[in-house]
């Protein structure tokens, strides 16, 4: 008898097939969560800036890329030769986030602050210009070819449970993003500055009248958002191993879709949107079509904007005539 016939004749063969399906699903689902966490971190930067300034910060994705490259520079420098993976990564993350936060503040000062009173179109063009500048600066400094992260930092083993084997590194990346999101959520909801940011996002004029220093809020937003994006860049470098100066475009557009999905300007929305988009994308790649994986995100974007532009968690705003 043929081996195949043996297998199909054996009892529990259907169960075997079902477990394989579930394995695929589990892999794709956790993969989706991990990449979704990254999208969420980047999306936070877009949504915070849009919430307060009503500006699409096209250059945000390039700060994400810069985070990945800065991380690489630091890791391969003498600073990290002595430290172990745990403390090294933590210090690395803090340094990258700090430096990108400063870059974010600088970006606002140079490209956006002079245009606060100008028509919206000007700020859009300036944002595009800043993005072009940053992206090409990264290319000039680091070169156009892919760069590779050292592979010995994240653990190699897989976690086994219920017959599934999920890479530990994937879970660590997910946990890292969730931890940062949790910290930000706490910050936004429970601290005074966080409340000030939320108030300025709702109505800048009213916030000013209440004594909130809106300029300080804007500064905070341009530091926290990019810091999250920079951390996401570091995570991508560590997890996927390869970085390129154009990766901001791919990740940025997905993250932006996630921000819209959750309701642009809505911080928990960006978190939910990012995770959701990651899962949708991963599952679609496995079950629908791998080739059109990137198109899925844009299709989601257009569907949302046509059917429910305020996003899943957003609020409706009426215009008085």
């Amino acid at each position: 008898m043929h081996a195949r016939e043996l297998v199909s004749a054996a009892p529990g063969a259907n169960a075997f097939v079902r477990i394989k399906d579930m394995e695929l699903f589990a892999q794709q689902f956790t993969n989706g969560l991990a990449v979704g966490g990254v999208y969420a971190l980047i999306a936070l930067g877009y949504t915070m800036v849009y919430g307060v300034l009503k500006l699409i910060n096209f250059a945000h994705s390039d700060l994400f890329t810069l985070g990945a490259y800065l991380g690489l520079t630091l890791i391969t420098s003498w600073l990290f030769s002595g430290l172990g993976p745990l403390w090294g990564t933590a210090l690395l993350a803090l340094m990258v986030m700090g430096m990108i936060a400063l870059m974010g503040a600088l970006l606002d000062r140079v490209a956006y602050r002079p245009l606060r009173e100008s028509p919206r179109l000007s700020a859009v063009v300036s944002a595009l210009g800043a993005s072009i500048f940053l992206q090409n600066a990264i290319m000039l400094i680091y070169g156009a070819r892919n760069q590779v992260y050292p592979q010995n930092i994240l653990p190699r083993m897989a976690l086994s449970a219920f017959g599934f084997h999920i890479p530990l590194s994937r879970l660590l990346v997910l946990c890292a993003s969730l931890a940062m999101m949790g910290a930000l959520y706490f910050f936004i909801q429970k601290t005074r500055i966080g409340t000030a940011i939320r108030a300025a996002a709702i109505d800048q004029g009213a916030a000013r009248l209440m004594g909130i220093d809106v300029n300080r809020v804007i500064l905070m937003v341009f530091m926290i958002g990019p810091a999250m994006g920079g951390a996401a860049g570091l995570l991508v470098g560590l997890y996927y191993g390869q970085i390129n100066f154009t990766m901001g475009w791919a990740y940025g557009s997905k993250a932006f879709t996630a921000a819209i999905l959750g309701g642009i300007g809505n911080i928990p929305g960006a978190m939910v949107g990012g995770l959701l988009l990651g899962i949708i994308e991963s599952l679609a790649a496995a079950y629908v079509s791998l080739a059109y994986k990137d198109a899925i995100a844009f299709l989601v974007l257009i569907l949302i904007l046509v059917l429910r532009p305020t996003g899943l968690l957003g609020e409706r705003v009426a215009e008085k005539v």
Binding site: V110, V124, V125, G129, Q135, N136, D294, A295, I302
Partner: protein
């Protein structure tokens, strides 16, 4: 005043017409590129400059035109120039179908959707949608255009084809500016609610702007395909859309001379400074930021229209 403007226009046209006689093939080709981008930017100007719609996905319309020409020419051997109206039609139709469901979206959201449309078209092209687009490698072997048996092959010959087309475009768009439709687009841009309240069908005119702009970009795509003989998805990326957008905004949104100047500078200058090739884009990005901060209306802003009024000398605008 009016005579001086005519002299400037006639003079520039004469210089331009004589250019291929004095320039080598390389620089003639640079002028050809400028010409194609000029038409593309003029078509985008209708949408962004006149109607005030933020369109960052214009490369999609360009691509639809180019691929229509490429596919029909290589499959059915229809002469490329004969396909010019067909390309305009397919691009316009594509714009109509894509825009109708989203036309009511507010400025920012519309901008984002146009980016999405641009990307979806590009990804569809790369993935060889319907099996006809040739995937990553694109389509090759597009035949040269011919006019009554005269085949256009060299850069000098393409120069006249492209710039005659550009010239016709400028004339037609100028006529459009001084018409009911041209005004309607501007009212739409200035204040949509007031326009609707004054009796203007704003949804209709948004579509008019998009379809016309798309149709012209499609025709530019036809000429591009014929000139390059090979087309691939890489020529129709988001950054192409950004480039066209930048030409319009930096040159002067809503202004035909501004857009033309923008095309010359933005496409031409990097050629002049070729030795700084890698720093080009860096300077370009910085220039965009600087322009918005220091001269937000562009290099040659749109001038107000002048009318011949009964009982008043036709003059300029008092401010």
């Amino acid at each position: 005043m009016k005579n001086r403007k005519l002299v400037v226009i006639a003079g520039s046209a004469a210089v331009l017409a004589a250019a291929p006689l004095f320039l080598d093939a390389y620089w003639t080709d640079v002028l050809n590129n400028i010409g194609i981008y000029a038409v593309l930017a003029l078509s985008l100007n209708l949408i962004v400059g006149h109607a005030g719609l933020f369109n960052l996905g214009h490369a999609a319309f360009y691509a639809v035109g180019a691929y229509t020409a490429a596919i029909l020419n290589t499959t059915y051997h229809i002469p490329v120039l004969a396909l010019l109206p067909v390309c305009g039609f397919t691009s316009g139709l594509f714009a109509l179908l894509a825009a109708r469901p989203i036309i009511h979206l507010r400025g920012d959201y519309l901008c984002i959707v146009t980016i999405g449309i641009g990307e979806i078209v590009r990804i569809a092209l790369i993935n060889n949608i319907f099996g006809i687009t040739g995937g990553d490698n694109g389509i090759f072997g597009i035949s040269r255009p011919s006019v009554f048996g005269y085949v256009i092959r060299s850069p000098q010959q393409f120069f006249y084809l492209i710039w005659i087309f550009a010239g016709i475009t400028v004339i037609l768009f100028h006529l459009l500016e001084y018409s009911r439709v041209g005004r309607a687009l501007n009212y739409l841009r200035e204040d949509e609610v007031a326009a609707e309240g004054s009796g203007i069908d704003t949804a209709h005119y948004k579509l008019v702007a998009l379809v016309l702009g798309a149709a012209w970009a499609g025709m530019a795509g036809n000429i591009y395909a014929a000139k390059m003989s090979i087309i691939s998805p890489g020529s129709f990326s988001f950054w192409e859309s950004v480039l066209m957008f930048a030409i319009v905004i930096l040159g002067g949104a809503g202004s035909i001379p501004g857009v033309l100047l923008g095309a010359f500078l933005i496409i031409g200058m990097p050629e002049v400074f070729r030795q700084f090739a890698s720093a080009r884009m860096l300077i370009f990005g910085a220039a965009m930021v600087a322009m918005m901060i220091f001269r937000t209306q562009g290099l040659l802003p749109a001038r107000p229209r002048k009318y011949r009024l009964a009982g008043l000398p036709s003059g300029g605008v008092e401010t």
